[in-house]
């Protein structure tokens, strides 16, 4: 197996009141793979994701990024090393598309020309026309906004990408488009991706491996092909919930 970029070792996360959100998580993310964290709401998948870029802190256990404990990273440096895209996108409404995508490069003092080139390159990469560069977020459609969000996460070319249900708020057709484009993109870029979703179809479509979380615990971790045939009762339950379409057709 290839080198682990992110390593969870007995990682726990507790709230101030002592409630455990994440219990003894052990997990490796290998370079270049898309690891999907699958689970229902409240399973701890988003928490696990935010521990990686230190938006939340590990209560106990060890979490390493590129072989270094996250606690020994400067949080700002760590985050610039990791792209971050979320369902609500969170584009800066007062910035144009260009400044949104180019913000981290500009903070890192890239020369103006290089930023412009990078922004145009990224727009092309996520399938947006270059004339969109001077528009504001409110002038974009939901799908365009999420594409800009992904482009922004890739801004300074981070080797790691964290994605929290990035396509969750889109209509099914747009979502399918973006999922396909994401796969094409990933084949080209080979980033190390941690992808959070509750959608089994999305997990099966995008994931190299799928980790199922439930109530803060890792239930199972399978390569994509092994997931459906897993004999774990919780996995089977999850799969069952998603095969409900036949059941609806049966009602007619």
């Amino acid at each position: 197996m290839s080198e682990a970029v992110i390593e969870f070792r007995d990682v726990c996360n507790c709230l101030a009141n002592g409630r455990e959100i994440l219990r003894n998580l052990n997990l490796d993310v290998s370079r270049g793979e898309v690891l999907v964290l699958l689970g229902r709401s409240g399973s701890g998948k988003t928490t696990a994701l935010k521990l990686v870029n230190r938006l939340l802190e590990t209560s106990s256990g060890e979490l390493r990024v590129e072989g270094r404990q996250v606690r020994s990273w400067n949080p700002i440096e760590l985050r610039r090393h990791i792209g971050y895209a979320i369902q609500e996108v969170g584009l800066f409404p007062h910035y144009t598309v260009e400044r949104n995508i180019g913000l981290v490069p500009s903070i890192e003092n890239w020369p103006k020309e290089k930023i412009r080139t990078r922004v145009l390159e990224l727009l092309k990469l996520v399938g947006l026309p270059s004339d969109i560069i001077s528009r504001y977020p409110h002038e974009l459609s939901g799908g365009q906004r999420q594409r800009v969000g992904v482009a922004r996460a890739l801004g300074a070319d981070p080797p790691i990408l964290l994605m929290d249900e990035p396509f969750g708020a889109l209509d099914p057709l747009t979502r399918a488009d973006l999922q396909r484009e994401f796969l094409t993109l990933q084949r080209e870029l080979r980033k190390t991706v941690v992808f959070v979703t509750h959608d089994l179809h999305e997990a099966l479509f995008l994931g190299t491996r799928i980790a199922l979380l439930d109530e803060g615990r890792l239930v199972s971790i399978n390569p994509r092909d092994g997931f459906l045939s897993s004999s774990d009762p919780l996995v089977m339950k999850y799969v069952e919930a998603f095969s409900g379409l036949d059941h609806i057709r049966g009602l007619k």
């Binding site: 895209a85 979320i86 800066f92 409404p93 007062h94 903070i107 409110h138 969000g149 801004g155």
Partner: protein, 213 residues
């Protein structure tokens, strides 16, 4: 003597008093901005301070203005000059809308925007100056607008302690039971408030962020 006659015969004095009025309001508002906005930012960073700071500003706001001028009279240095005292009192009254609006403006920035900004590796000061303050600007300006309009009105009372301003004419008119003299102070003050309100309202709109839905 009717209003227009009085105004035209005393236009130089009225202009002087209006300038004095503007001076009191301008300096006190600038001081309030310089203190209130940082305080508002501080209480978004230190939530434990939110209640005591807002409560203090609230209490100040409830003190009747004439009483506040009186309270401050014995203060050293401040009490020596009526102008200083008036500026301090007006500044104190302006604090609440500035602190509150700065706090509210920053807290109302879309949490998703703040989260991604932090997730992208913005430092706390980059987050504040590049994201939070620009997005809160119109709400903060609304606070300046309220503070300014209140100050222009309140500054008329400063004449009671001899700080000058358009209130001088109002008090003189009251003593003389002469409506024209009262109006010569009140009308310019009202106009000043209207103009300030219009200008700030326009600025507020200019800085309003386009909302993405």
């Amino acid at each position: 003597m009717n209003f227009w006659n009085f105004v035209s015969q005393n236009r130089l004095e009225i202009a002087d008093l209006a300038l004095e009025h503007l001076w009191l309001v301008g300096i006190s508002t600038l001081l309030a901005v310089a203190i209130g906005i940082p305080l508002g930012i501080l209480i978004t960073r230190r939530p434990a301070l939110h209640k005591p700071v807002i409560a203090t500003a609230n209490i100040i706001q409830t003190i009747p203005s004439l009483a506040l001028f009186g309270f401050l009279l014995p203060a050293p240095w401040i009490g020596d000059r009526a102008g200083r005292l008036a500026i301090l009192a007006l500044m104190l009254y302006s604090l609440l809308p500035l602190i509150r609006n700065t706090y509210t403006g920053i807290r109302n920035v879309d949490p998703a925007v703040v989260e991604t900004a932090r997730g992208m590796g913005l430092t706390d000061s980059q987050l504040l100056f590049k994201v939070e303050l620009p997005l809160a600007a119109s709400v903060i300006l609304a606070g300046v607008r309220v503070a300014l309009v209140i100050s222009i009105g309140l500054a008329t009372i400063a004449a009671a302690i001899g700080a000058g301003g358009l209130g001088e004419l109002i008090f003189r008119g009251l003593a003389m039971v002469n409506n024209s003299v009262i109006l010569a102070g009140a009308v310019p003050a009202a106009l000043m408030a209207l103009i300030a309100d219009t200008i700030l309202g326009w600025l507020e709109k200019r800085f309003a962020p386009q909302r993405s839905n």
